[in-house]
């Protein structure tokens, strides 16, 4: 794949990249449970389309680091079958755009079998995939469709935004008896941070307050969390105190943390890289209205991608995506 980014050498400053954190999580899962295996396009010899599984083939062998044909429906469906039979497959799909070829398997089988079978069959499957834009890959490699998956009962949808979450999310996902979709924003793989040695797990049912504030709540997830934090930092210089909530789990949504924050700040901006129409941001906004309407001092604002297939040209792509300046502008509108 022409879009591959090489994993950078481990930096000397003690930080870990998002990519390395994911790889550590995978390595730990593979080493601790022999039911776990990784399957997907280029995960083995190539080392992963985005370098996440580099080196794991040598460590765990081709049975457990399993290269697949370009057959999303078959290998995702095979993951479902293997999970039904008691394995703990981790399936990697290159991007959410390609996951549409497996959408039937994900929705009609993985999400549905437990219910249709009256609780007899569970599908403890983890599907990892890249999402999002920002790397000039044009429309078919750049969309953010995780909100569609968050619509579906029977699935859990996660979007780790930090190196700590990337490091520990897989173990939590594998402990879930149901299918878990893990969305990794493509622009995060090279992002580096200090792993917190005190953090050992991820709460799948709880959003995280990444920055505390009193004037406005900025709700974001995945690749937009860093943009929200950047916007909050910029606003701090103007005397506006912004709280940043990282959803972390898109389904089920943690209403308590979202609404709890809004009840403190009385204002909210929702950031979502998906398109505005019918988006996850609409759902979050609606829940805020349903649960905190009389505590709001201003209508909720949303910052989403422009309603256009994501273009290739840098200037156009940047214009299509939520940017920190857009978040600041939205926050100004609700605070003023």
């Amino acid at each position: 794949m022409s879009t591959r980014t090489r994993p950078r050498a481990h930096p000397d400053d003690g930080t870990t990249t998002y990519r390395e954190a994911l790889r550590e999580g995978l390595r730990e899962a593979l080493a601790s449970d022999d039911r776990v295996f990784l399957m997907g396009e280029d995960v083995g010899r190539y080392g992963g389309c985005f370098g996440v599984s580099l080196g794991l083939l040598e460590e765990f062998g081709p049975d457990r680091i399993r290269d697949t044909p370009l057959s999303e429906s078959a290998f995702v469906g095979a993951g479902i079958g293997a999970a039904l039979a008691g394995m703990r497959p981790v399936v990697e799909i290159m991007t959410v755009n390609f996951s549409l070829l497996a959408l039937d398997q994900i929705l009609n089988n993985a999400a549905t079998l437990r219910h249709m079978s009256g609780g007899q069959l569970g599908v403890p499957l983890v599907i990892r995939m890249t999402t999002g834009a920002g790397r000039q890959l044009a429309a078919q490699h750049s969309h953010s469709l995780e909100g569609w998956y968050a619509h579906i009962p029977g699935l859990r949808v996660l979007a780790p935004a930090t190196v700590d979450d990337a490091r520990h999310v897989l173990a939590a996902a594998l402990a879930d008896p149901d299918p878990v979709l893990l969305f990794e924003h493509g622009s995060l793989y090279n992002a580096a941070g200090m792993l917190d040695p005190a953090v050992h797990d991820v709460h799948l049912d709880r959003a995280a307050v990444r920055r505390e504030g009193t004037d406005v709540t900025i709700v974001a997830y995945g690749g937009c969390v860093s943009k929200a934090l950047e916007a909050a930092e910029a606003m701090a210089g103007e005397g506006i105190s912004a709280e940043v909530v990282d959803l972390r789990t898109l389904r089920p949504l943690d209403d308590a943390t979202i609404v709890g924050s809004v009840l403190r700040t009385h204002r909210a901006v929702v950031v979502d890289e998906g398109w505005r129409s019918g988006s996850l941001s609409a759902e979050i906004e609606s829940r805020i209205y349903e649960q905190a309407f009389f505590d709001l001092d201003a209508p909720v604002e949303r910052v989403c991608s422009a309603e256009v297939p994501i273009p290739y040209a840098r200037r156009l792509e940047e214009a299509a995506l939520p940017q920190p300046a857009d978040i600041v502008a939205a926050a100004h509108r609700v605070v003023s």
């Binding site: 295996f37 049975d63 697949t68 044909p69 057959s71 429906s73 078959a74 290998f75 995702v76 469906g77 095979a78 993951g79 479902i80 079958g81 293997a82 999970a83 039904l84 039979a85 008691g86 394995m87 497959p89 039937d104 398997q105 009609n108 089988n109 079998l113 437990r114 219910h115 249709m116 079978s117 009256g118 609780g119 007899q120 069959l121 569970g122 403890p124 009962p153 029977g154 859990r156 402990a175 879930d176 008896p177 149901d178």
Partner: protein, 355 residues
């Protein structure tokens, strides 16, 4: 039948009906072969009568939804199941009453599911198209054409990785053969040498569209063979031919020879579903196929071999009808699922993860 299916190559055909030599009329039911034939007949009759009762119940509005009947295809389910045992897995389609009953899912549980009752094999969440039995490794019940194929590869992959000598049998129709699901799965299964038995029930129609109108090349076994799998076409109206082919395939799969493909040349005597006015099939074609009825075919063969007489057949039929009567009575008296339990079984608790 070969003519009706068209384009059959001699290499892949097994349309001759074997006539096995039987014991004498004096000792009919005492030989193992006779007992076996009687069991095959009983199972096929059970499926036939079960579905005929479903037609009545549907007309009486006791059961609803889409109901796809298997009448005419009974030899496939019953014959294939002779080669499978409890450790194996079965993946099925929306035309799966026959598969479920041949898998020995109790008729009470299947009928209760048709009624949407709490005692149904899917606790009323599935209905006719989504029968499941986890304990019997019966994995549906899939109403997306071809949707079960990748699951079968995955079940087989798990067995392969754990060194189990189990086989996963996947039933699907000629309609599914046109889906990418079949071709992706056939490639994956052959590439990885997975223990899958693909059983394509070629009943000549994908819903209302004839085989030649949906497939550029109608010899499905030949096409399956192009993936590097052993593949045969079998007379799907002859339970002995089905059993023989399935036993050979399963034995070879257990010996580690990877996936095998059987194209079962069969026919459904009824429409695609209860909603289908069946205007697309010539009446004389249906009548011609009914002359190869798998149930009466076996009964006639047994009669000719002196293994069955009118009284014995009547007694057998009576026994089957009573079993179905009991299933219907039980389903009618079974409790409904409570509306308060609507949201059960959407997600599980951690302890519900299969080990």
């Amino acid at each position: 039948m070969a003519t009706a299916h068209g384009g059959t190559s001699a290499r892949t055909s097994q349309t001759k009906r074997p006539r096995r030599t039987r014991g004498t009329a004096a000792t009919p039911s005492r030989t193992p072969a006779a007992a076996h034939d009687l069991d095959l007949l009983r199972q096929m009759l059970l499926i036939r009568r079960f579905e005929e009762r479903c037609v009545e119940l549907y007309s009486a509005a006791a059961i609803r939804g889409f109901v796809h009947l298997y009448i005419g295809e009974e030899a496939v389910a019953v014959g294939v199941h002779q080669a499978l045992d409890e450790r194996d897995a079965v993946v099925s389609t929306y035309r799966e009453h026959g598969h479920a009953l041949a898998r020995r899912v109790p008729p009470e549980a299947v009928m209760a599911e048709m009624y949407g009752k709490a005692t149904g094999c899917s606790h009323g969440r599935g209905g006719s198209m989504h029968l499941f039995d986890g304990d019997r490794r019966f994995y549906g019940g899939n109403a997306i054409v071809g949707g079960g194929l990748p699951l079968a590869a995955g079940l087989a992959l798990a067995d392969r990785m754990r060194g189990e000598s189990r086989v996963t049998c996947c039933f699907f129709g000629d309609g599914a053969f046109a889906e990418g699901e079949f071709h992706e799965t056939a490639n994956l299964a052959a590439l990885w040498g997975l223990p899958v038995l693909f059983v394509c029930e070629n009943n000549l129609y994908a819903m209302g569209t004839a085989l030649a109108r949906e497939h550029a090349q109608t010899d499905l076994a030949m096409r399956a063979a192009s993936y590097g799998m052993a593949a045969w076409a079998v007379d799907g109206m002859d339970v002995h031919a089905v059993e023989k082919a399935a036993r050979g395939a399963v034995e070879s799969i257990r010996a580690g020879n990877g996936p095998h493909f059987l194209e079962m040349r069969t026919y459904r005597f009824r429409a695609h579903s209860m909603y289908d006015p069946d205007r697309y099939r010539p009446k004389n074609e249906i009548e011609e196929w009914k002359r190869h009825d798998p149930v009466t075919g076996l009964a006639d063969g047994m009669r000719a071999a002196g293994l069955l007489d009118d009284a014995a057949l009547k007694a057998l039929d009576q026994d089957v009808m009573e079993e179905i009567d009991r299933a219907v009575r039980a389903a009618e008296q079974a409790p409904e699922e409570a509306a308060e339990d609507l949201l059960l079984h959407v997600t599980g608790r951690p302890e519900e993860a299969p080990s």
